[in-house]
């Protein structure tokens, strides 16, 4: 699903900052991978490159067999819209749209008609137990509800890849566990998922843990989440 060959990324700010120094990583279809590392190690940078939100300087990135390099804005938009679903730490729901409208938005950009769009959005909201909240605005929802709305939004286009940057970062431990449970269920349907986190408890719920340090992959740890004890809180 994802193939990274020697990805390099430098931020040219006041001082050039070489953030990614040759990343090589393969993620198979249907995998659940987490990326861990200290603050500033380049986790978000890597995830943004995976999401074609940012570009890289050197190397090759293959997504679903296609080389992602020097794409036009339109091509990138199409990739993101069709292949990738994003889940953000701060939800990034549009405040003046209802939960339903937020979920339906990616379909709007696919040109799906209103009726079908709202039907599909409703389906996903229902799946995450948010049917009663469909007409509510984000500021009327709890953090967990917001994150579930944003998961619904990420899934509504049936993407092949879900990218989540600290999806539980703004949530308490109980809600985090719920959200992780949902993400694991989503992954179980065959959708590839990459989660950035700095919480060991979250990473432990994934099958593969990529440890990032100073811009290189320090180690890749295989993990069996089913051994974990879910009765315990994860934090």
């Amino acid at each position: 699903m994802i193939k990274l060959n020697n990805i390099n990324k430098t931020y040219f700010g006041a001082q050039p900052l070489h953030v990614l120094k040759g990343i090589n990583l393969d993620v198979e279809e249907g995998e659940l991978v987490s990326i861990m590392g200290a603050s500033g190690s380049g986790k978000s940078t890597l995830l943004n490159i995976l999401g074609i939100l940012d570009n890289y300087d050197e190397g090759d990135y293959y997504l679903a067999g296609q080389l992602v390099k020097n794409l036009s804005e339109n091509q990138a938009a199409e990739f993101r819209n069709k292949l990738i679903g994003f889940i953000f730490q701060s939800f990034n729901l549009i405040p003046f749209k209802t939960a339903l409208e937020n979920v339906a938005l990616p379909l709007f950009y696919q040109g799906v008609n209103r009726k079908k769009r709202n039907m599909m959005a409703m389906e996903y909201l229902e799946r995450f137990g948010l049917k009663e909240w469909a007409e509510h605005y984000p500021n009327e929802l709890s953090g967990g509800q917001k994150q579930r709305v944003s998961i619904a939004r990420a899934l509504v286009t049936s993407p092949k890849l879900i990218l989540a940057d600290e999806p539980t970062g703004a949530l308490d431990s109980k809600t985090s566990a719920e959200v992780m449970q949902i993400l694991r269920e989503v992954n179980a349907t065959g959708i590839t998922m990459v989660i950035v986190t700095h919480e060991r408890g979250i990473a432990n719920l994934t099958r593969k843990i990529v440890h990032l340090k100073d811009g290189i992959i320090e180690s890749i740890e295989e993990n069996d989440p089913d051994k974990m004890d879910f009765t315990k809180e994860i934090k």
Partner: protein, 421 residues
């Protein structure tokens, strides 16, 4: 561009900040409103002033002989001279720049005493003798009967056409005027027509409404002037310049009456075309000024819309970034911002247009129903063409206002939404 989905999208963003949208829209509303009011007022003045000369040929000039001011060919200076009918023939024959030439003889009113009578009723009016073609230069509305015709001229018939006021004062509107005999300066004439002037400002030896018009030949017989007359009017043919034609007429008259070629004092000339052209330029100037002021006001409205939308776009960085992350293509973002600007501007503009037109319709009704001696202001409304132009301008300003914000918006990348915290 304006399907139901886009409208909803746009409306959400506009309605989200109602006060600001309203303030933004106000600039455009005000610009169009002012433009419409100004244009309507300009039209009002234009029509008002034009109404004063309605029916009068604006390409006409008239020429009044005056005593010579130079000695020439053995004649003393200060000699009295008068044009005659052979001059008219000569002008018709040789000067192609003259389209209508009309000799006129007139009888000034006698120091305010009544000179025109029907039975015992009388009034003080001026008289003039004209040819039928006078009605081609100073057109008037025939209320009864007809104007002077060729038979009247050929037979020097004792008939007259009277102005509306003469009819009202001397005969009285309770009587049918045709066929009645009125006495003017001691001679009886049969009334064959009653006329009303379209304008009430043009005054050629008396306003037409207050004149008794005779056939020129009748007048010449009555006052023993032979085939001479007092002054002449002419209109310039299409494609000729009135100033040149006027000079040609003067030259012809100088030759025929032994007047020195350099004698300018022997004629008094009024070139209406020149005067009207001045009016035209004045109106044109006013119109240009109005458009400049109106468009200027509108432009400041456009700048306002643009400016506030730029601020809005900045505030919406995160939202737009999220949209980009979710797959909105640049064109979609551009379209949305442009559409927002267009919708805001068009709504505001249409309100301004409708309100401006509405107010001026009320003012117009008021002005038109207020009788006044000096009409300066009439029917102050904008024409259909101007309304269409205003609408086009509204749309263009909407697009114009949207360009900068749209360019700014499309520069926002998905990554900006994620970074901005």
């Amino acid at each position: 561009m304006f399907d139901i989905d886009s409208i909803t999208e746009i409306w959400q963003t506009i309605a989200r900040n109602k006060t600001r949208s309203l303030l933004t829209a106000f600039g455009v509303f005000w610009g169009i409103f002012i433009l419409v009011i100004l244009l309507a007022c300009g039209n009002g003045f234009d029509k008002g002033l034009r109404s004063n000369i309605e029916g009068f040929s604006t390409n006409s000039a008239f020429l009044i002989p005056s005593n010579t001011t130079e000695a020439y060919k053995g004649y003393q200076k200060d000699r009295f001279w008068q044009p005659d009918m052979s001059d008219i023939e000569a002008i018709k024959k040789t000067l192609h720049g003259v389209s209508v030439v009309s000799p006129i003889t007139s009888q000034w009113t006698y120091n305010g005493e009544n000179n025109v009578f029907y039975g015992t009723k009388g009034g003080n009016f001026s008289m003039k003798g004209v040819l039928p073609n006078y009605n081609e230069i100073d057109r008037c509305k025939i209320l009864y009967g007809r104007f002077i015709n060729e038979t009247d001229i050929a037979e020097a018939r004792k008939v007259c056409v009277i102005g509306k006021k003469v009819y009202e004062d001397v005969i009285g509107t309770d009587k049918h005027p045709l066929g009645l005999m009125i006495k003017a300066n001691g001679i009886y004439y049969q009334v064959v027509g009653v006329v009303q002037s379209y304008n009430d400002k043009v005054n050629i030896n008396g306003q037409t409404n207050e004149t008794v018009i005779l056939p020129l030949t009748t007048m010449q017989v009555a006052y023993h002037t032979g085939d001479k007359f007092d002054f002449l009017m002419f209109t310039t043919a299409r494609g000729y310049i009135s100033k040149d034609v006027q000079e040609e007429v003067k030259t012809l008259l100088r030759e025929r009456h032994d007047i020195a070629p350099t004698d300018e004092g022997a004629f008094m000339c009024f070139d209406f075309e020149e005067m009207f052209n001045m009016f035209e330029y004045l109106f044109l100037g006013i119109k240009i000024l109005i458009w400049i002021v109106g468009i200027g006001t509108l432009l400041s409205g456009v700048v306002g819309v643009s400016n506030i939308m730029l601020v809005t776009i900045k505030e919406r960085t995160r939202e737009i970034g999220v949209r980009r992350a979710l797959g909105a293509k640049p064109a979609v973002i551009i379209r949305q911002v442009m559409a927002e600007s267009l919708l805001l501007t068009i709504l505001a503009g249409i309100v301004g247009l409708v309100l401006g037109v509405g107010i001026m319709a009320v003012v117009s009704g008021f002005v038109n129903n207020t009788p006044s001696e000096d009409v300066m202001f009439l029917d102050p409304q904008i024409g259909f063409g101007a309304a269409i132009a205003a609408t086009v301008i509204i749309v263009l300003s909407g697009l114009l206002a949207g360009v900068l914000p749209a360019m700014r918006a499309v520069q926002i990348k998905a990554i900006d939404a994620i970074r901005e915290e």
